[in-house]
Amino acid sequence: MAKMKFFRDFDKEEAWLNRMAADGLLLTKAGLRYQFEPVTPGSAVVRVDYQPSMPQSDFDDYLTLFADSGWRHLDGSRLGGPQYFASTSTNANTEIFSDEASKAQRYRRSLIAHGGVLLMFLVFSLSAWPLDLLSVSPREWYLTEGLWDMQGAQFLGAFLFETIFVIFRVGVPLAPPVISLYCAVVIAYQAVLYRRATATQTV
């Protein structure tokens, strides 16, 4: 059982995963394509943390602390990203954060991680700005002679055939600016979520 979803809001993601768990589907693999296994409906609570990349020994210690307190790791890479946990049957607690301030720090860690990626791809983008591609009309990305004068099936065949090559020729140089833009959007969005999460705290 798999579903395609895209989340950058940990609270919304958690809520969705818990609705799935309440219906008897527990997360096994996260990402764009979420995979589930059948379980007794409502038998587990799912929680999401965010951690940056860390050495294997740190990751072992991190997972052991959660395991000791009754949380089974469902998915998540030691190379950084969201970490998914399910409460085990012996666990009476339903939260992995005992205060709102530390819960809000998930967004801060994610912001910093995306900031690092943004910086790296901005450097790539600026050092190899695909000016030659961006300054011409997309028609000129196609190199087949007389392509745009062809008709009907001949045009369609030649167009689709070359599109495969255009995706690589144009896609690769355009990737750094596109990834930079993506990171910038995620940072802006999560900054709003972080502010909202910290604003609800009292002194």
Binding site: R47, D49, S57, D58, D60, D61, Y62, T64, L65, F66, D68, S69, W71, N93, E95, I96, F97, S98, D99, S102, K103, Q105, R106
Partner: protein, 104 residues
């Protein structure tokens, strides 16, 4: 006397430092804090992990050798012990001030 700028500590940090006067790994810290606070402070793992990370960065606690490679062991540093004592004094003074006010 100039007051340590790290004061006052939060309740969570105070109890973590108190638990780490003796070396302990994460889960042992949780149980000690729960016991010492008479069940009032129950740390969740995500919160404790973040707090330990911050306290190490602030050099109030440090890693000590662990027999178990899957569980890091921490203990307060000299700085950490000083801050803990300073905050205890601060609170003792508050209690004294309260009692004096009560007596009028």
């Amino acid at each position: 006397m100039a007051r340590n700028p790290r004061l006052p500590l939060t309740e969570t940090v105070y109890y973590i430092l108190l638990a780490l006067l003796q070396p302990a790994h994460g889960y042992l810290i949780m149980s000690r804090v729960e016991e010492m606070s008479a069940g009032q402070v129950r740390l969740a793992p995500g919160t404790l992990y973040g707090a330990l990370d911050n306290l190490v960065k602030q050099r109030l606690i440090g890693r000590v050798p662990s027999e178990d490679p899957r569980r890091k062991v921490y203990q307060v540093t000299d700085d950490g012990a000083d801050v803990l004592a300073g905050d205890t004094e601060r609170m003792a003074h508050m209690i004294e001030a309260y009692q004096q006010a009560q007596r009028g």
